[in-house]
């Protein structure tokens, strides 16, 4: 029998509901409007016989005495073929299909199936009758775009099963049963092409978690060389507004060497998502030659969409990422911005009248952020393959001040920190990752000793630059001045990239290794000049040539020519030992 409660209080998107039969924490419930519209909500606190629910929609028109249907199910997403290339809201409603039905505006209480129900998929079985399987092991596969999409034993089934029957190769819908499995007690369960999973729980159908060691190439030199990210690693990008967080995320989404990219636009501008939506389908993925959209999935809960669904959106994103990880793929989850998600937590916490922590964020903020980032990782699956979820989250600190609670809580759990600075973005230095403040615990593609040495030159050059502001150029020794110029050279030629140039916007691993080696050589060369002006104009010219060198095709004749020009110029000022 249906479990029905009655509303006794409404405060913005928080409902207080009196219930009679048992309710489950975090279960989904629907609040019913007079018009029959059902508003999706989630139980977030229970006190005596009153449950408190956050509603994922606008609550205008609800009143005391309205019914609430409890479903007994935790907030879940649908997993199965047909997820890729889609655009979902935070609750996994496909937005383009919603637009077809409702027009320009979102309509509350309208929920659609995430996976297309009538589409047929060409299924190929991978097991035979009598085989023993357990949760997460493949029963078969279907082709989904460029991937072999594994159909797995539902993750929520415990124990070992014997295959009773398996469908033969053929076309099936996501709701069709493709296998019957018998558990140890002889009970027979039906597996379909699709399954569902509660978003707030991590999927754990693997044999072990591994240490992230393999570099993930983002094709941004400053990241890959100085502050690398590894497959299965987690990193954060905090920065004030206008520092280029979103541009950096978009470039990463476009160029990162991973199988699948999931973009979670959480509480940010709708306009930015639109760029991705309209541009990705037209761009080709250099790895596959197909449209970039084929490896992309977008979760989009922009700032004007309901706040509670914003909180759900990051979990929806990470759950879908874990699902594809289970197929042995390498997935990159980009969450923009986790601060908006934390603010959603704060809003609910305020309405629940919980005792506030710092800046009114709830006291459990840190543990919630930590458990989210902990869902990133590289794992060995039951079939021996590895799959990974890499998480990159942006943080939008209030006032651009990294001391605030969300940034600090995030820094505790990530392996790399790419701090963006207003100063660098004002100087139009892209990416505006601050080379002196940022750090990474991962190992990249460049020899660590050399990158540390280059980084030191940057550091010392910066110190000289600071000093020069006080004592002037006259008070600086020639050696120090050259060190300063070398630091600037490294900054403009290597750290910065031209996001508007189609070659320089993405620098592949082999090119990076080559260019770094050459730049390193230039930094290590001892040069001499009679006057400071000569030194400055030499480096200005060298920078100009090196920037052109960055903009031409790797290994082309032009590339070789420009490289020769650089080293010829360098030889003229080199001190011969």
């Amino acid at each position: 029998m249906a479990n029905i409660g009655k509303i006794i209080g409404v405060n913005s998107n928080l409902l207080r509901v009196r219930f009679e039969q048992p309710v489950v924490q975090n279960e989904v419930a629907y609040a019913l409007l007079e018009s029959g519209t059902r508003l999706k909500s989630e139980v977030i606190r229970v006190r005596g016989s009153v449950a408190e629910l956050q509603v994922f929609e606008d609550t205008t028109g609800l009143k005391e005495g309205n019914s609430v249907e409890f479903t007994g199910e935790l907030l879940s997403v649908e997993l199965g073929p047909g997820l890729l290339t889609q655009v979902f809201d935070g609750l996994q409603n496909p937005l383009p299909q919603l637009a077809e039905q409702c027009g320009f505006f979102l309509q509350r209480g309208k929920y659609l199936d995430a996976l297309p129900r009538d589409k047929k998929w060409a299924f190929t079985p991978k097991v035979k009758v009598g085989d023993k399987v357990s949760a997460g092991e493949a029963l078969g596969s279907v082709p989904e775009g460029i991937f072999e999409h594994l159909i797995m034993v539902p993750f929520r089934w415990h124990g070992t099963f014997t295959v009773e029957s398996i469908s033969s190769a053929g076309d099936y819908k996501v709701t069709d049963t493709i296998a019957k499995l018998k558990d140890q007690n002889g009970k027979v369960l039906e597996a379909k092409l699709m399954q569902s999973w509660p978003v707030k729980l991590p999927i754990k159908c693997y044999t072990e978690r591994l240490r992230p060691v393999e570099p993930l190439i983002t094709k941004q030199r400053i990241i890959d060389t100085f502050f690398p990210v590894n497959r299965g690693g987690v990193y954060c990008i905090p920065g004030p507004f206008g520092a280029g967080k979103t541009v950096l995320q978009q470039l990463t989404a476009r160029h990162a060497e991973v199988d699948i990219v999931i973009i979670t636009a959480c509480g940010e501008r709708a306009g930015e998502v639109v760029e991705t939506l309209k541009e990705f389908p037209e761009q080709t993925d250099p790895r596959t030659g197909k449209s970039l959209m084929e490896r992309t999935l977008i979760i989009c809960n922009t700032s004007s969409m309901p706040v509670a669904a914003r909180e759900a959106s990051v979990y929806t994103g990470v759950t879908l990422a874990e699902y594809y990880r289970q197929m042995g793929l390498s997935v990159l989850l980009l969450a923009d911005s986790t601060s908006r998600w934390a603010q959603a937590l704060r809003e609910m916490s305020g309405r629940l009248e919980e005792i506030p922590g710092e800046e009114a964020f709830p006291a459990y903020l840190e543990s919630v952020i930590a458990s989210f980032y902990e869902r990133g990782g590289i794992v060995r699956l039951k079939n021996g393959k590895t799959g990974s979820v890499t998480i990159g989250g942006t943080v939008s600190p209030a006032g651009g001040n990294f001391e605030e609670p969300v940034t600090q809580a995030t820094l505790k759990v990530v392996g790399a920190f790419h701090g963006l600075s207003r100063e660098r973005s004002d100087q139009r230095r892209f990416p505006a990752i601050h080379p002196l403040d940022s750090w990474s615990k991962y190992h990249g593609i460049i020899d660590r000793a050399k990158s540390v040495e280059a980084h030191n030159i940057l550091h010392k050059g910066n110190d000289v630059g600071q000093m020069m502001k006080v004592v002037g150029e006259e008070g600086t020794s020639m050696d120090d001045f050259v060190l300063y110029l070398k630091g600037e050279f490294l900054d403009s030629v290597y750290l910065q990239q031209d996001a508007y140039n189609h070659i320089d916007e993405a620098c592949p691993g082999d090119r990076q290794a080559h260019v770094f080696e050459k730049v390193y050589q230039i930094l290590k060369t001892k040069v001499t000049f009679k006057e400071k002006d000569a030194a400055r104009s030499f480096f200005l010219k060298l920078t100009q040539t090196a920037k052109d060198w960055n903009r031409v095709e790797f290994k082309s004749k032009e590339f070789a020519d420009l490289e020769a020009t650089i080293f010829k110029a360098l030889a003229e000022v080199t001190v011969n030992a």
Binding site: T59, K278, S303, S304, R346, E359
Partner: protein, 430 residues
């Protein structure tokens, strides 16, 4: 038909509490007190107790005042006859015209489906070179004007309202000084722009709750015009007053404050208004320009800070001019490539030279020797400030670019500007 209640249980700030049943969330009620009649909106329902926010304030409300629930939520009228009229936040006429009650529409409606948005592609011409040339305003953009008290931001808005090439202007005033309200009214009337303007005005002496309604009312009307194919420009001043009104209500409601007393949902509240800026595919559009005054000229204050994260750039208004350095229109790249071939180059060159001028000024003030180049820059800077930056300049984009070439040619040699020779050949005045 509608139930009437006569017993008010609690009065605190602008919020009154009555025991009632069958009341829906966000429903409107009419509160009748010896002071007059005011609308009120349900903002909390708790076990039979209904909290209502009284638009005219609770002053003079007695414990036996009459509360009548209306069975609908907040609405404003919408029709062509709105043009030229001035309303309060609650939708009452502020001019001496008749009340309009036809075709009522809900305010604070749902947000636009992101998949129905399109990439912005056309500019809004304002005739102000600092905007048109250097930080182009784009259709469907949302841009704040960051300023401090005392700056002529209302004059700037009024000029944009007058000059912008749009079909409809919706003006929303929040916490305005009465003088400013009169200024807007007279300015637009004298110059004949009132006939395409709808105003929602809240002055500092009006009830604070009505301030909260202004952006929603303005944007709801804008949305209707836009879906009818009109190009709408919404001007809001001043969003900091709006945020302060929210703060006031939140504190009265005993909400836990988050940052400097502002409620924790400040970002969401501001975003849900700004995100109404949109270009409807195959129909009209809404562009939003909003003044945000920065208390103490501090951009890290919660209101400008949260605004900066929401909007697509910002204009800084300092010393009566739009600052070229901090100001940024994030969408300008989408449109300034297709205006005229020299647009981007002129934009960059003139700003770079102006930046050098600023450096020279600094050097001059420190007593360094001025060279030949410095002398050129000093002359250039003065001209630039006078003929480009001054807010009274009103010339179309093309004229402004021509003027730019003229100023450059007067002080510099072509090679000193770093402009590509192809453009020099075509545009450099003899």
């Amino acid at each position: 038909m509608h139930k009437v209640y006569h017993k008010i249980e609690r009065i605190a700030g602008n919020v009154i509490t009555v025991a009632a049943d069958g009341v829906t969330y966000h429903e409107l009620a009419q509160v009748q007190s010896p002071q007059g009649t005011s609308l009120a909106q349900v903002i909390r329902i708790d076990s039979g107790m209904i909290d209502l926010q009284v638009f005219a304030g609770s002053r003079g409300v007695s414990t036996d005042s009459q509360v009548r629930f209306l069975g609908r939520s907040m609405q404003v009228p919408f029709s062509e006859s709105l043009l030229g009229r001035v309303f309060s936040g609650a939708g009452e006429p502020r001019d001496n015209g008749p009340a309009i009650s036809e075709n009522m529409i809900d305010i604070g409606g749902p947000s636009v489906n992101p998949s129905k948005r399109i990439i912005p592609k056309s500019m809004v011409r304002t005739g102000i070179p600092m905007i048109d040339v250097f930080n182009t305003l784009v259709v469907s953009q949302k841009l704040p004007i960051f300023s401090i008290a005392g700056e002529p931001y209302n004059e700037l808005l009024a000029r944009i309202a007058l000059q912008a090439e749009v079909d409809i202007i919706i003006l929303g005033g929040m916490g305005l000084k009465y003088d400013d309200y009169l200024f807007f009214r007279d300015f637009l009337e004298e110059r004949g722009a009132l006939s395409r303007t709808v105003s929602f005005m809240h002055t500092a002496s009006d009830p604070i709750v009505e301030c909260l309604l202004v952006p929603d009312a303005a944007l709801a009307v804008a949305e209707q015009f836009a879906t009818q194919g009109k190009k709408v420009l919404v001007l809001l001043t001043d969003m900091t007053n709006f945020a302060d009104a929210m703060k006031e209500i939140a504190i009265t409601m005993e909400q836990v404050p988050s940052n400097r007393g502002y409620p924790g949902d400040l970002y969401s509240q501001l975003a849900s208004r700004y995100e109404k800026a949109v270009d409807f595919e195959g129909s009209g559009s809404i562009t939003i320009l909003a003044v945000t005054t920065m208390p103490g000229d501090d951009v890290t204050h919660p209101v400008p800070d949260n605004t900066g994260y929401i909007t697509e750039g910002q204009f800084y208004l300092r010393k009566g001019r739009i600052e070229p350095f901090g100001s940024l229109s994030r969408l300008k790249q989408q449109v300034n490539g297709d205006t005229r071939e020299d647009h981007r180059t002129m934009m960059n060159t003139m700003i770079q030279l102006y930046a050098s001028y600023k450096e020279t000024l600094e050097k001059q003030s420190m007593g360094f020797r001025m060279g030949n180049w410095d002398a050129k820059l000093l002359k250039y800077g003065v001209r630039f400030e006078k003929e480009m930056m001054d807010l009274s300049v009103n010339i179309p984009l093309e004229k402004a670019l021509d003027l730019g070439w003229k100023i450059l040619a007067e002080y510099f040699k072509p090679e000193e500007t770093g402009i590509p020779s192809k453009l020099i050949a075509k545009f450099w005045p003899e």
